[in-house]
Symmetry: C2
Subunit: 224 residues, 2 copies
DNA sequence: CGGGATATTTAGCCTTGCCTAACTTTTTCT
DNA sequence: AGAAAAAGTTAGGCAAGGCTAAATATCCCG
């Protein structure tokens, strides 16, 4: 695909706006050059260059020195890319027997190669799933993302109350395998037993077993 | 993928060596710059440039003004690319419900995006097929291509002898739909009723129906 | 408020793969 | 054979997307 880079940048802007706790799009928080540089593994100068191009094509609005935000057109491209990514992931797991830790890497490439026709067929064959193997919602072909009920990071859940894992926002195969090893899979029941004062490890109980959980992981685990 | 162009060139050299009736590889017929230019839809100058690069990397041997042939390394890359292409095509038809005329285009892109792991899983899920939707053999993962029994072009088959369609070497969706409309599908029985003297249309009978067949199509239909 | 630290942009360069135009080699045809 | 045609190569450019180094904005803190 010729616009692999373009899609990757827009997706990164989208996710960073989202991470900032804002609606990705013209109204959300702007995203800094350095954040994009880090996320994409590319020099800041390269980011600036690409942002100018994206701004010229009206996919982002760029105020020099103050970051970018997606335009409506940019948001559409980003969401379509995320849709392809998540459907491909789900397909790799459900139809081809991959494990959840292997699929992000593969999908990162396939999301740029798979046509709308192919991805829509995959989605049909899978029975029109609403989420991917990590519990992330699959946007509709019209670009709508169903809001996630009331899932919250494990770090913000009350102590001694049973909750269920609904989503795991983590892309590292190693870390996903580690979490899976603890029994932290989608749908797993768990109880938060002890929350460290500031940013220390959490103590959780999953399937009768107790584990200490690094807060960085815990933040990526959404429960309800 | 970074080496999309490289794979496309090597695949084209492979197919052109093969078309010349020779074993693709160091021993086969050399392929001309202009043949590659036409097949790849790229200027002759561009072909020359790329051939120099491929020669530098030892994927082809290039005698200036006299064409190129694949080295053993080049053959391996070409065959692996063809394997991915054909497995993807078969998968699109068998697992995703595409029709045989739609899949070449899609596979042309996916062949560069799909990892060995993914393509091998597809092949397993399909039940280890030996050929693709057009009857073309799927190379093994070691790069071996089973020789096709004694399939011959329809143009070289004796008159009034029933034969069976084993392969259709044609990539144009329009033409494939046209052939399908005549009943010329894999496995179809047909009889060649009349062969024009030099290069005129053939008269064939398929499933009780008689059709005139342009010799260019007829050459692409292999039978046994 | 001023200045150093940090973030961002600009300038200049590289590689890929493509292009056209001009030149050279090979082929073909009389 | 010898010239015209065809095929192939070289030269010079362009757009994409990267990079580093240098210049400039912004931020933050004493």
């Amino acid at each position: 695909m010729p616009d692999t880079a373009l899609q990757d940048y827009l997706k990164a802007v989208y996710k960073l706006q989202e991470t900032a706790g804002s609606e990705p799009g013209p109204a959300g928080e702007p995203v800094s050059t350095s954040a994009l540089s880090e996320r994409l593994g590319v020099s800041q100068a390269s980011v600036t260059g690409m942002l100018k191009k994206l701004a010229r094509k009206d996919f982002v609005s760029h105020e020099p020195y103050r970051g970018v935000r997606l335009t409506e057109a940019g948001r559409r491209v980003a969401v379509a890319t995320i849709r392809r990514h998540r459907i491909v992931e789900q397909f790799l797991v459900e139809a081809l027997g991959f494990t959840w830790d292997e699929v992000d890497e593969e999908a990162e490439i396939l999301e740029h190669a798979v046509s709308e026709k192919v991805v829509n067929r995959m989605w049909e064959v899978l029975g029109r799933p609403r989420s991917d193997p990590h519990g992330s919602p699959i946007p509709s072909s019209e670009g709508v993302i169903e809001p996630e009920s009331d899932a919250r990071p494990l770090t913000e859940t009350p102590v001694e109350t049973p909750v269920r894992v609904t989503r795991i926002r983590n892309r590292s195969p190693d870390e996903l395998r580690y979490l899976g090893g603890l029994g932290l899979e989608l749908g797993a029941e768990l109880v938060l037993e002890e929350k460290a004062p500031f940013d220390g490890p959490l103590l959780i109980r999953v399937g009768g077993r107790r584990h200490a959980l690094d807060p960085r992981f815990a933040h990526a685990v959404l429960v309800e």
